[in-house]
């Protein structure tokens, strides 16, 4: 390991036996500390992305860097692998460079701060947190250029840097960084907020050590990790059949420069107690910015969390089970791009990973299988100078339909990301030159099923100042698939209505679209796939959905439900229609993708008004470089 950890106190930790009660007490205390980190951050951060939408992730790890509480897995392994300096008491690290931390964070707007916690001059734990900054400079406001070919176009790059040294802020460095951002006061406040959250975690960790002793604390963390490992081992061996390989593939529709779709392929199987995920077959890295540097450890956490939620939500997750998973990602592919590949628009591939996991794990256990969800976080950006000559800049995350699940219907217009919330429209109208004309879910976009997928959302942004907008979304070509008989959800669209009444559809990914006062953008996200046979859904529920405007009368027929003139389910007509449709449909397949990629491309122009994306052209250099890398290994 290149990093050197400096500790004045060389005394080794003594392994002590911790009784199960103390263990649980320490676990609860750490969990409270993690929630307190969130609370401090939300209250003091300033960018709407963090303070209103909660685009941030906290974590506490043991002294080896293994996450004991948090959600995205440890950010520390990658950092320790890639960083060549020392870790010393009083240090606090800042980085945003995925290539310098093994992808622990995956694009430059995510600023990761990392605090080694010392007690009596000995490293006892780490606290870490990253948050998405609204802007970090680069070629486009919001710093997420769809057409970037190299990471150097995407804003300032900060290698792992001691932003605090010996407990002192290196203000020269901070100022240098802020000088490169379009909204430095937001970055400064958000940075301060992250630091405040880390200091809070540090305080709590030290209190726990005071209470129980360093050795007990250290041993307890090890036991928490071990406890989780045992639980995961049980989950893996009981739920994943040995030897049988499952395969699944899904796509991101395009790369923002006219090519696509890009395939993400994964094969999963079990050998003994070990679960293996192999991404061989995934397309090579893109020439644009849709690459997603997927950290293997983070992916393990995704898998763990997903399995826990699906099979036994009582289990608390941490890094303890990492050696039970093996993740193979070929270098130079979309999920392990080589520097200097652009990374800013990785959100689509990141989101799609969850659909792939669901599709793979669910194949063996269809009862636990969820439909395709809102596997993305589409972005909307709007900036310019207002009438007073002041710069305004908005970055906003959109939401869509949660998929139909074994547990029930998917909520309409909700977030798949933990703790994320929408921005109140009154907040937008008060602070940005915008009026939100419409904020509603889109009828019939939820995939029909025994459990309906949630509807996507339509936001109608009326612009009150001339400016430029960016749109980043996906699933405009491929469908959010349905499962166990459920149908796919509706796809996304973006429509710009000019003040003079002319309409134009915008592509799913675009920057630098000029808008004028009075123009309206309808930002329509996609719905969740349906779960289970829609013909078996209680016709009364379908009638209620129609009355609520979530499904149309016409849409009810996709459930085989016929309504009377006053909106009630027509029992007899429904039975007849269902019998006929069931017969026509034939056998239910596990997945319903709404067509093959070739079929979707063939229908593309007619259905979306856009030409189908061209087949991706891949570069040679990184393939050669990747081969060299493999040979060296």
């Amino acid at each position: 390991m290149p990093v050197t950890i400096v500790q004045k106190n060389k005394k080794a930790f003594k392994k002590t036996k911790v009784d199960p009660i103390t263990l649980d007490v320490i676990e609860s205390a750490l969990r409270s500390a993690r929630f307190e980190m969130d609370a401090v951050l939300f209250r003091t951060a300033m960018s709407p992305g963090i303070r209103e939408q909660h685009d941030e992730f906290p974590m506490i790890a043991n002294r080896e860097g293994k996450m004991v509480v948090g959600q995205f897995g440890s950010f520390i392994y990658g950092f320790k692998e890639a960083y060549h300096g020392t870790i010393e008491e009083g240090d606090l690290f800042l980085t945003n460079d995925p290539y310098s931390c093994g992808g622990a964070i995956s694009h430059l707007p995510d600023w990761l701060c990392l605090l080694p916690v010392y007690r009596n001059h000995r490293l006892v734990a780490y606290a870490a947190m990253f948050g998405h900054m609204t802007d970090i400079g680069g070629k486009v406001p919001g710093s997420l250029p769809t057409d970037a070919h190299q990471i150097y176009e995407e804003g300032i790059m900060i290698p792992p840097t001691k932003i605090y040294k010996g407990g002192k802020l290196q203000s020269d460095i901070l100022e240098l960084i802020l000088h490169n951002c379009r909204l430095p006061h937001w970055n400064r406040a958000d940075f301060n907020a992250i630091i405040a959250a880390l200091r809070t975690a540090e305080k709590r960790i030290l209190e726990i050590c005071d209470r129980f002793g360093d050795d007990t604390f250290d041993s307890a963390l090890a036991m928490m990790l071990d406890r989780n490992r045992r639980a995961m081992k049980h989950l893996i061996t009981t739920n994943i059949p040995e030897g049988k390989k499952s395969y699944f593939e899904d796509y991101i529709c395009d790369d923002g420069v006219g090519m696509g779709p890009y395939k993400i392929a994964a094969t999963m199987w079990r050998e003994g107690e070990k679960q293996i995920w192999d991404f061989t077959g995934t397309d090579p890295q893109s020439i644009s910015s849709v690459n997603f540097y997927l950290n293997e450890e983070m992916f393990k956490m995704f898998v763990g969390v997903f399995m826990i939620m699906v099979f036994d939500p009582q289990i608390l997750f941490n890094d303890g089970f990492y050696d039970l998973l093996e993740v193979r990602i070929p270098a130079g592919c979309l999920l392990k791009p080589m520097k200097p590949a652009a990374l800013s628009c990785r959100t689509h591939a990141l989101g799609r990973i969850f659909d792939i996991m669901g599709g793979l794990l669910g194949q063996g256990a269809p009862d636990f299988l969820n439909a395709a969800g809102f596997s993305d976080s589409p972005h909307f950006m709007y900036s310019g100078y207002d009438k007073n000559g002041e710069w305004y800049q908005l970055y906003q995350i959109g939401f869509g339909g949660i998929p139909g699940r074994p547990f029930g219907d998917g909520p309409d217009g909700h977030s798949l990301w933990p703790a994320f919330t929408n921005v109140p429209n009154e907040f937008l109208e008060a602070y940005f030159p915008l009026r939100i004309d419409v904020y509603e879910s889109i009828t019939d976009t939820g995939g029909p099923g025994l459990h309906r997928g949630g509807n996507g959302v339509s936001i109608g942004y009326r612009f009150l100042e001339p400016g430029e907008i960016s749109v980043h979304d996906d699933r405009w070509l491929t469908y959010p698939w349905g499962v166990n008989g459920g149908l796919p959800g509706g796809r996304s669209t973006k429509k710009l209505v000019r003040r003079n009444g002319t309409e134009e559809l915008l592509p799913s990914k675009c920057d630098h679209i000029k808008v004028d006062e009075g123009d309206i953008l309808y930002f329509n996200t996609w719905g969740g796939g349906g779960w289970g046979d829609p013909f078996k859904r209680d016709a009364k529920l379908v009638a209620a959905d129609v009355e609520r405007g979530l499904v149309s009368r016409e849409g009810a027929r996709r459930y085989g439900v016929v309504l009377t003139a006053d909106g009630a389910a027509d029992q007899r007509a429904t039975e007849e229609l269902r019998a006929r449709l069931t017969k026509e449909r034939g056998d239910i397949k596990l997945f319903n993708f709404g067509g093959t990629i070739d079929e979707l491309k063939a229908r593309c122009k007619a259905e979306t008004s856009f030409e189908p994306p061209k087949a991706p052209v891949f570069q040679k250099w990184h393939q050669v470089a990747a081969r060299r890398l493999r040979a060296a290994e």
């Binding site: 009660i21 007490v25 699906v310 219907d409 977030s415 907040f427 939100i436």
Partner: protein, 685 residues
């Protein structure tokens, strides 16, 4: 002779406390609660307490009442069929809510969202629009609205909410919609968001106003019935309902803004704790109210409970001021379990409730609860009766807790102690949330414990959080009635006023505050509180421009505000921000809300005192009990609380019994009985 009466309706008992306003002398009564119609129990209680005091009910001038009617309506979904009018394009404001899915990464897999309090089929959109600056950008289409309201009428709505975008800046369009609605639906209560809660954020404002509509009919019925019945017994009586924020509301205010009553019950408890602790000489408190299914905690500074501008009941969170009571799902009925996979010991949030209740109740409950763990380790002696009547079954508790012991591979006693330690840790988390997490040092606070299970866990909590003394007041039920009776009439008027400091002046802010003060004072005038008995205070909510949080700063005196009011406020804000978050910023400060609070005079109440005794409590000793403490069995002395006298010093391990609670004093601690009968527990050295 004027009397005032405090009434607390609990799940089991209704407690009443009658105060002679001239002398401060008190009388008490306790009668069974009548859950189907709470007012019945109240009226029976009034007869009882008047008889006890030997007075005529006509002599009662003020009745102060904490009620859970509004809370229960939401918890059991027993509210009205609410119709909702939104702006065009916003009909799904409750359906989409804040898009938030609880439960962390992957939480969506198991999250099922409940149907909004005003469902979509009862929601209509008014064609109108207000801008963020408060200008009407689109006039209301009345004809269209009438047609839509007729449809709601056909659907039989019982209550109506009007919540339009940007109405927090200008409520003109909402009032227009209301005028139309009154014509179409003359007989149903209408709540409009610009009156209920004129604050930014359309979802929060809408859900708050809808919650108001949801509980309005049931609260209205209850309050008016009770008032009518009371008036028949006592001609000149004024009824006041305790609000969530600890103030009192008139009958009309309660009926119109019942969303402000959702925490009425807990607010009474906190007010009572404040009053009783004051009698013992303590004003900085952590209150700790542990019941059967949950525990409520609250921080009190200098005799004033912390407030927050949010109230949560069940899965509904509304914007309404309430005493900052935080609840955790940890109570005497919380169930302990050991998940198969992790072999970890978990306690709660599932609760055995009152029925079947803990195994010890012998009502068929077999799951091990916190109460059972307390039975096993001996905190609850055999002589104790549930609610003073029902015997408890130790054997059944042991059988239940043994399951945990087996699953963990621990001896029975250790497992029982483990359950108690875990539940204590959960409650400790809640206490930390209101103290250290807000920048308060718990060592500066006394811990006041009440509720059915509170006094059993209080000493251990004191140890964890280091708050001494731990105060265990006598008779937990009466505590709330004390709270109700001693509360002051209070009204507040507030206004959202978002301005960066450079964009306003001290004079402008002062003028607004004075106007707000006058508005609140008028409300008290209407309650016959003379101006000389009114006292006013002022608050400003501020933040750094661009921040989401607001911190509330009190203004001591408005007279000097003109000179350097805002400057002083800014300094105070920076100091608090640094204390809470380790940093201050150089960005401009921004005003968010201005508020004036006007209060009436506090009632003078004399506490009931216990007679003076010696240091030795042996006269109250009624036996001894084997207790598992600090990893071994010890002999705890058992005392009868009724017989304890002021000055008695009870050294732990000891157990003090009274009809509706059990106090545990741990080894190496002692409890001192004071003048009013509170037990003050402290470490021995």
């Amino acid at each position: 002779m004027p009397y005032r009466l405090g009434v607390d309706v609990g799940g089991t008992f209704t407690d009443l406390l009658l105060i002679d306003e001239k002398t401060g002398q008190t009388s008490m009564a306790k009668v069974p609660s009548t859950p189907a119609d709470q007012s019945k129990g109240v009226l029976i209680g009034i007869e009882r307490v008047c008889a006890a005091a030997g007075i005529d009910a006509n002599e009662i001038t003020h009745v102060m009442h904490g009620t859970t009617v509004a809370t229960n309506a939401i918890l059991v979904l027993g509210g009205a069929k609410v119709g909702l009018v939104t702006s065009k394009g916003y009909g799904q404001v409750l359906q989409i809510a804040r898009s938030f899915v609880p439960g962390g990464l992957g939480g969506w897999i198991i999250y099922n969202k409940s149907i909004p309090l005003a469902p979509l089929e009862l929601t209509i959109e008014a064609d109108e629009r207000m801008s963020a600056k408060g200008e009407v950008v689109r006039r209301l289409d009345e004809g269209d609205l009438v047609r839509k309201l007729e449809k709601l009428k056909k659907k039989g709505i019982e209550s109506l909410t009007i919540s339009l975008v940007n109405a927090y800046v200008n409520g003109e369009n909402e009032r227009k919609v209301r005028d139309v609605a009154r014509r179409v639906l003359p007989d149903i209560p209408i709540s409009i968001s610009s009156e209920v809660i004129p604050e930014m954020q359309e979802y929060e404002r809408t859900i708050t106003t809808v919650a108001n509509s949801y509980v309005a009919p049931v609260v209205r019925r209850y309050v008016r019935n009770l008032h009518g019945e009371l008036s028949r017994k006592a001609k000149n009586v004024q009824l006041h309902i305790l609000r969530s924020d600890g103030g009192l509301a008139s009958v009309d205010a309660s009926a119109n803004y019942p969303v402000n009553l959702l925490m009425s019950g807990p607010a009474g408890g906190v007010a009572g704790a404040i009053w009783i602790a004051k009698q013992s000489g303590f004003k900085n408190l952590l209150t700790f109210d542990m019941g059967g299914t949950s525990t409520d905690v609250c921080l009190v500074q200098k005799g004033v409970a912390q407030l927050r501008r949010e109230t949560t009941v069940g899965d509904v969170t509304v914007r309404a001021s309430s005493v900052d009571v935080r609840s955790v799902g940890a109570g005497g009925g919380s169930i302990a379990h050991v998940p198969e996979l992790t072999k970890a010991l978990r306690v709660g949030p599932q609760s055995a409730g009152a029925d079947p209740g803990p195994a010890a109740y012998g009502k068929g409950g077999e799951q091990p609860t916190v109460t059972d763990a307390n039975m096993v380790i001996g905190v609850i002696p055999d002589v104790q009766r549930l609610g003073g009547e029902m015997p408890l079954d130790r054997k059944k508790s042991e059988v239940a807790v043994q399951k945990i012991a087996d699953a963990l591979g621990l001896p029975l006693m250790k497992a029982a102690q483990g359950i108690i330690d875990i539940v204590n840790e959960n409650m400790f988390g809640a206490l930390r949330l209101v103290s250290v997490q807000q920048g308060f040092d718990p060592r500066d606070f006394a811990l006041v414990a009440f509720g059915g299970a509170g006094p059993m866990h209080a000493n251990a909590l004191g140890k964890l959080i280091n708050s001494w003394p731990v105060i265990v007041p006598p008779s937990p039920g009466v505590l709330c009635a004390y709270g109700d009776a001693t509360t002051r009439l209070r009204d507040e008027a507030s206004q959202t006023f978002i301005r960066k400091f450079p964009d306003t002046t001290n004079g402008e802010v002062q003028k607004i505050l004075e106007r707000l003060q006058e508005r609140a004072a008028k409300a008290l005038d209407a309650e016959n509180v003379p101006r000389k008995d009114q006292s006013s205070s002022y608050q400003i909510d501020i933040r750094y421009s661009g921040q989401g949080l607001v911190l509330t700063i009190d203004i001591a005196d408005l007279k000097d505000f003109k000179k350097n009011g805002l400057e002083t406020i800014a300094k105070k804000f920076d100091a608090i921000h640094t204390q809470m978050f380790t940093f201050a910023l150089t960005l401009p400060h921004e005003l968010v809300n201005l508020r004036a609070v006007v209060q009436g005079k506090a009632a003078s109440v004399k506490a009931i005192t216990v007679g003076k005794g010696s240091k030795d409590p042996k006269a109250a000793k009624i036996g001894s009990q084997k207790l598992y403490a600090d990893g071994k069995i010890v002999n705890a002395t058992v005392y009868d609380r009724k017989r304890l006298k002021a000055g008695n010093r009870v050294v732990g391990p000891a157990i003090v019994l009274e009809m509706d609670s059990t106090t545990l004093i741990l080894p190496k601690h002692y409890g001192e009985v004071d003048r009013v009968g509170s037990i003050l527990i402290r470490p021995l050295n």
